[in-house]
């Protein structure tokens, strides 16, 4: 494991790409007890203070350098997708809108590729249902998302079913490692 010197400038690796995410899907990562303690207890509540790793490490019974090294290693291994603040894009003026289309099998790939090619489309999944293409439109404003949806509809000739969130219910997810 590479050492992290106090004060050394380290930046996080870029978020795992599609390819490394795929690799992570293939086998369950090997985590030791300390890794699990970190993953299970640091999904929120990272302190905002001058020495936050030191403070977080104390509550986990680790030393600061070990915590930093292990987070770094977990990011590199793709066990973590990121480490830092999770922003609520909707409330910051951005717009994310879930939408779906119902596509016949023989036209699925063509339309899915066109949807993916639009920069406003952030996520796109194939799902098992009559509505078989599910994606999220994301832009600075709802109008820009709507324009992208209308463009897709006009080019592909399939309707888009829009599912904007009407209410978000509080969740406290803790994935157990």
């Amino acid at each position: 494991m590479a050492g992290v010197k106090r004060g050394a400038r380290r930046t996080q690796p870029p978020a795992p790409t599609h390819v490394s995410r795929r690799n992570a899907e293939c086998s369950r990562a090997e985590l030791d007890e300390t890794d699990r303690r970190i993953v299970n207890n640091l999904q929120g509540g990272f302190p905002i203070c001058e020495w936050p790793f030191l403070e977080a490490a104390r509550t986990l019974g680790l030393d600061e350098r070990e915590l930093i090294e292990r987070i770094d290693k977990l990011l590199q291994a793709g066990v973590l997708t990121r480490f830092g603040p999770l922003f609520n894009a909707d409330r910051l003026g951005g717009a994310n809108i879930l939408a779906a289309m119902s596509l016949p099998d023989n036209d699925f790939d063509r339309v899915a590729a066109f949807v993916n090619a639009q920069p406003e489309i952030a996520h796109n999944y194939r799902r098992g249902h009559t509505l078989n293409l599910w994606f999220v439109g994301a832009a600075e404003t709802p109008d820009k998302v709507e324009s992208a949806f209308q463009y897709i509809e006009s080019v592909t000739n399939y309707p888009i079913y829009r599912f904007p969130k009407e209410r978000e219910f509080f969740v406290e997810l803790k994935l157990q490692a």
Partner: protein, 168 residues
């Protein structure tokens, strides 16, 4: 139609907040004083960085600060979008309770699109197997009781695109 209980109101952010968001949304630097490193990068005092992050956390602009696990790497291979047709007069109260279940990662009320789509409550479920996800869905079904008229679980059959949501 605006819902008085909706929590989607926009929060005021200024240009400095936006610079701070741009500098941190990819992740915090892995150094002992990460907020100082960010302060240096964007050219404002560290105290200002911490005060603004604290304010955004208090207002809900920051949901949380910590690590984000990759579901798949932790063995959560079965991720199902469970969807429920719940009586309008009960969906908000029941949605709150569904959101608190610890296997639910996202929980939203959304519009129905009849006749193709009768469901108004969406809850993402994460399990290690489909059997586990099915068992979770049964727990939700029991919780919803007679208020629920129909339900389904949509499993992902392939990630076609996944880019992080970026705030610009």
């Amino acid at each position: 139609m605006a819902d008085p209980t909706s929590n989607s109101a926009k929060l005021p952010v200024d240009s400095l907040d936006l610079r701070l968001i741009a500098a941190t949304q990819g992740g915090l630097p892995l150094v002992p004083r990460p907020y100082h490193a960010i302060a240096e990068k964007i050219g404002i005092p560290a105290e200002e960085v911490m005060a603004r992050l604290e304010r955004m956390r208090a207002s809900g602009a920051i949901r949380r600060i910590g690590l984000v696990p990759n579901h798949y790497a932790l063995g959560y291979h079965a991720n199902g979008m469970s969807v429920w047709d719940v009586a309008d007069e009960l969906v908000d109260e029941l949605g709150e309770r569904v959101g608190r279940l610890d296997f639910v990662s996202h929980c939203y009320r959304r519009p129905r699109r009849r006749p193709q789509w009768p469901y108004n409550l969406f809850a993402m479920l994460h399990g290690k197997t489909r059997e586990e996800v099915t068992a979770y869905a049964e727990e939700i079904r029991a919780l919803l009781g007679p208020a629920c008229h129909a339900s389904d679980i949509l499993y992902s059959q392939g990630i076609l695109k996944k880019t992080g949501l970026r705030i610009t």
